[in-house]
Symmetry: D2
Subunit: 125 residues, 4 copies
Amino acid sequence: MRESNDIITVLGVIGTDPEAKVTSNGVPLIKFRMASTQRKFDKETNSWADGNTNWYTVSAFRGLARNAIASLHRGDPVVVTGRLHLRAWNTGERQGTSADLEADVIGLDLQWGTANFQRTMRAQP
Amino acid sequence: MRESNDIITVLGVIGTDPEAKVTSNGVPLIKFRMASTQRKFDKETNSWADGNTNWYTVSAFRGLARNAIASLHRGDPVVVTGRLHLRAWNTGERQGTSADLEADVIGLDLQWGTANFQRTMRAQP
Amino acid sequence: MRESNDIITVLGVIGTDPEAKVTSNGVPLIKFRMASTQRKFDKETNSWADGNTNWYTVSAFRGLARNAIASLHRGDPVVVTGRLHLRAWNTGERQGTSADLEADVIGLDLQWGTANFQRTMRAQP
Amino acid sequence: MRESNDIITVLGVIGTDPEAKVTSNGVPLIKFRMASTQRKFDKETNSWADGNTNWYTVSAFRGLARNAIASLHRGDPVVVTGRLHLRAWNTGERQGTSADLEADVIGLDLQWGTANFQRTMRAQP
């Protein structure tokens, strides 16, 4: 598969308490919901207005998961880059589509505040 | 709003006959559904396997719409870059989420075939 | 390496006659120079003005190269996504940096004209 | 100009002490050099090897600059998304090209360590 396909960068806010999990293979995993509220420039009023909010279910694995679990809280602004998976679900009574984002990158977004970094890993994988 | 937010590049195949429309303001508009089938490398079998298919509703406006209407057909492979809008819908009986992609860029994807370009516009806007 | 690193999408114009080559392993290769002229919105004059022009050396391989060779000409507008390599060079007399872009995706950009697609490949790799 | 043009996401390490500046209009500005070392998978040896290092000159303005100045140090890993400007320079004796990246987003990259966020701004602009 070509590397660029379905890759999205989202600037959002963590909307749920991040969950720390372990896969059946023993791999650390983090999961949280993230909201990205879009803003639209209204040419008629010459001002910005709130637009649609996109909700994503973000997951990350291994070292990135471990560091994210130690760092992130509900309400924190993050930049997430990853591959988007749109999945249809159907419970019988209800159906819908969820937008899952498998994060390749999670960063604390310095647009909205400050942070101090503590290195836990040396080598570049 | 920051420019990078919710921008996605999708390599997909046009899954419906493109519709040519005009907005209430007289702006040309194209709409089509696009499928992006993901491929996963399975480390155990050392081979690629089909993964999830993402479906997007793509729209574009103005000159890009005009050229796309004259160029694109169901089954054509395209590269689309644009802003993703995840929208909840509810008809009373059914509900779901649609993934709308307002295209900033539509290109004919030369991975899968050839194409000859005919310029219709001169200046860079 | 993480997939997202140094990935760039460029909307540009092919500035040289594309060269068709074959690597020492017999792999088809296309090379061309591409110019991307940026535009800046000047808030004082309320209008767009020409900005900097970025020049990239684009290369692609295998099936994408074959189709691109059959399709592309100097002056054609393209959308290219790929990994950027900034390389320092030094001839003794002169030195500089070249921006090489190994294309994962090359599309004919429908912003500026029309094109008709002819499929040459069936399966999704 | 179309929003997607020349937008790049770079995962890099800050290679110089960040400089805090103020523009002639009184706008806060941060500048630093960032190195992004690429890794290549060698199919013959079935292992990863170091590849090329890209060097970028990153700048950011206003609130993002203020928070970045309070947060970032040489050696910190960051994810930066922004527009790339390749500029030719010539001092008479030497010439070259610099890769300038005007950051729309700077995040502390949680792949390599942990960080705790302190919010300084409320509203989404």
